[in-house]
Amino acid sequence: MLMPAPDEGLIARRGEFVAALRAIVPGEGVIDDDAELAAYECDGLTAYRQRPMIVVLPETVEQVSRTLAYCHKVGLKVVPRGAGTSLSGGSLPLADGVILGMGKFNRILEVDYENRCAVVQPGVTNLAVTHAVAGEGFYYAPDPSSQIACSIGGNVAENAGGVHCLKYGMTTNNLLGVELVLIDGTVLRLGGKHLDPQALDLLGVVCGSEGLLGVVTEVTVRILQAPETQRALLMGFPQVEAAGACVAEVIAAGIIPAGMEMMDRLAIQAAEAFVQVGYPLDVEALLIIELDGPPAEVDHLIDVVREIGLGCGASYLRVSQDEEERRGFWAGRKAAFPAVGRISPDYYCMDGTIPRATLPKVLRRMGELADSYGLRIANVFHAGDGNLHPLILYDADKPGELHRAEELGAAILTLCVEVGGVLTGEHGVGVEKRDLMEVQFGPADLDQQQRLKCAFDEDGLLNPGKVFPKLCRCAELGRVHIHGGQVRFPELERF
């Protein structure tokens, strides 16, 4: 993975930078020891590793502001990092850059039940927000699978989703406000406990900006009253098409389930071998559909969905009768990733979104691609919103297999875009999908996005080398002269 070429001049001045940063963040908060820097060289995407030059772990907003202002002054690149659970390499360091770790921002500042929101620091984990409000029967809805460990700040950066985002929205739909520090140290607040932006929806564009626009130092999120009842159906189908049809019919019936997940045969078998929850092993696709709400509603909808499932030819159908059984249905799905990790030395988790109706075609084509690359794929699918997680199984110890897995991954994402979908539904672009951005977006599309970046970070110091395949040179992007037609930019530096 090619990153911007390191600036040897900056690296030579490391001692000077460390001393200056230590004056801003005292104690153990500035790390420059080689052994210690190693632990920061990658996040959840371990295929790519780079030791950073310096790691800074601030504890206050003032320290964040002064650190960024200093980096801006001397031209140091900054890579923000939350819990380091990104699957797209969002916090992959730069050899001549600073990692700004927000792990010490781990306090829950306020729970406001009257206004139904919580104000937390970005290092607080997603699940910790729910735990903080569970006593009063509330919860925080977006639930990515890594919610036990992933940070809210990271959720904001990636616009994280989860199983329940079909019904309850993604992070951006549950985010009320942030405190943001720009690269020059400016601290500003967007949103708050009130709804709607004052003018342009800057909050909306900061969410999902993958650490390229600013550093979030405080987050205000919506909390919801937990549903009275949750019940689930477990349905097995002899063909993937039938499962896909069932999903479409549920939506067509005007039902938006709390969650609707699909697993293919390989994923089902791996999960069952790992946790023995009783999944049928003779089906091509398994659907878990969860309905939540008041009992009257759930009981009614369970019947409707059951009829739909049977009508679509479900060869296996169970309805949860109690909470334990419902949890049991989910246990296999939740263990799918580690389960797959046990049938293969390594696996590569992909993320792409497709129009739901194209699923059977996409799965067929993926099977063909997998065969041609000599690798296996297990599929876990957020059927409700078309977000696909193909798990490519490989062995890093076999020469060339990692490379083939990556090529297969790229081919799958290209296929997603070809059928009318997008490269990433919830993991973000990071470095992983950066070089595929031109598959989905044209030059003008990417230019406009990079212009937005210029408004926040003209010198391109925040997380360069992520999301966009070309470095942003704001001055050139800004000066466009039209001569009766489209203008072509001179080729900007490629990594």
Partner: protein, 432 residues
């Protein structure tokens, strides 16, 4: 994760074992969520994932470890909450044990630290020496403020009085009352009999009453956990060997149905003897056998199915789940179920999975972090408004007692009391 050990390095069985463990880690970071030091410090380096990375680099590189690596490994509590959380089955315990032994062998600590660790490893496992040290601390109480901070903190933890003696200190057989349903060994331990002899007293009374014959085997003593966690591999193995041989003699004699531990920190150790001696021809099998028979007292009591308590005890018990018990041994429900059946109202604190900071000698070697964890835990326990805090490990009990006025007792003391035994000393009204 990818590793880069040489074939020569992998020829060493310890390294080979650690390499396998490291490869199981996929760097997902779930472990950071439940790590007490990450909770406090927010630094990847003080999280299991970061430590795995540091240990990997240390073992791959060979030679003396970087002092920073040592610092972060020293900060690990070995609470094993990470193992409970890890979806990939990484055996962090074995990896950090190996790393500690490696550090002890390859790293020269500053001499005051070396002296302190040496002292702890020498004194704590030896009941006579430990008793002596405590008496010295008591006698010189007025002078304690002259001690350097760390020693002062330690001295302050010494109880005001040492009362009673532990019936399990000398080799003996305690017959069962009525029909003998099982024959069990009891590990006396080292620190527990000195600090709280009433615990084994209660255990023996209760076991006898329920029909178990209890044997304190000749030659058994400290389980070796404390020196083990200080990286002193040889000493810890010597202590373990003595225990294995002592119980093997019993097993070869009248036999044992289980080997019971009342300090859960020791329980985790005993259950790991099989792994510890897996490479040693003469001890591999006996060690495995001992490990297979090792049980926490709550596990055996559950199996014996004590009768329900004759009356509601009218007390709210906040159950503190010791790390070695819930994470190290996977025993979570049994103690609570026993307490409820005995007639107590059992409540649990928030963040029940997080360590109290005792962690063997951690509260002596890392007083600042241990203190913060203790205060956090005590606040959660106090919030449940209990009459008494129950725990299954002497380390936790001492640690918590230092931070709260709420009485702290061992689970087995409360059970014994509910089923006819004496009032636990912690619940006796304090003398004026």
């Amino acid at each position: 994760m990818q590793t880069s050990f040489s074939p020569e390095q992998l020829a060493d069985p310890q390294t080979a074992s650690s390499e396998k463990i490291i490869r199981a880690c996929v760097h997902c970071g779930f472990c950071t969520a439940t790590c007490p030091t990450y909770l406090l410090l927010g630094d990847e380096l003080d999280s299991p994932r970061g430590r795995i990375y540091l240990m990997k680099e240390m073992l791959e590189k060979g030679g003396p470890p970087s002092p920073k690596t040592v610092k972060h490994v020293d900060r690990c509590l070995s609470c094993l909450a990470c193992m409970t959380t890890c979806p990939s089955g990484v055996n962090y315990m074995h990896l950090v044990d190996h790393a500690r032994a490696y550090i002890e062998a390859h790293h020269v600590r500053p001499w005051p630290e070396r002296a302190l660790r040496g002292l702890l490893a020498r004194v704590l496992p030896n009941r006579t020496l430990f008793r002596g040290a405590l008496r010295l601390a008591q006698a010189t109480r007025p002078l304690q403020r002259l001690l350097p901070t760390r020693l002062r903190g330690m001295a302050a933890m010494a109880p005001a009085r040492l009362s009673g003696s532990d019936p399990a200190e000398r080799p003996r057989v305690f017959p069962a009352q009525g029909e003998r349903r099982m024959r069990v060994g009891l590990l006396a331990g080292c620190v527990q009999p000195v600090l709280a002899p009433e615990i084994n007293g209660a255990a023996i009374r209760l076991l006898s009453r329920l029909g178990a014959e209890v044997v304190v085997a000749e030659g058994s003593g400290c389980c070796g956990a404390l020196p083990h966690h200080l990286g002193k591999a040889e000493q810890s193995k010597a202590l373990a060997r003595a225990n294995i041989e002592a119980w093997s003699r019993e097993l070869g004699g009248e036999g044992l149905d289980a080997i019971i531990v009342t300090a859960s920190g020791c329980g985790t150790s005993l259950k790991d003897y099989g792994f510890l001696f897996r490479e040693e021809a003469d001890l591999a099998q006996p060690a495995a056998r001992v490990s297979a028979l090792a049980r926490d007292i709550s596990e055996v009591l559950s199996a014996l199915q004590p009768p329900e308590g004759p009356k509601p005890m009218g007390l709210t018990v906040a159950y503190h789940s010791a790390c070695s018990l819930q994470h190290g041994q996977g025993v979570r429900e049994a103690p609570k179920a026993l307490l409820r059946a005995a007639g107590f109202n059992v409540v649990e604190p928030a963040e029940a999975h997080v360590c109290c900071g005792s962690a063997g000698t951690y509260n002596l070697l890392q007083p600042e972090l241990a203190g913060r964890l203790r205060d956090r835990k005590v606040a959660h326990l106090a919030a449940t408004r209990p009459d008494v805090i129950a725990a299954g490990n002497i380390g936790c009990m001492t640690q918590l007692a230092a931070g709260t006025e709420i009485p702290v007792a061992h689970t087995v003391e409360l059970l014994d009391w509910a089923l006819g035994g004496p009032t636990p000393p912690a619940l006796e009204p304090k003398p004026r």
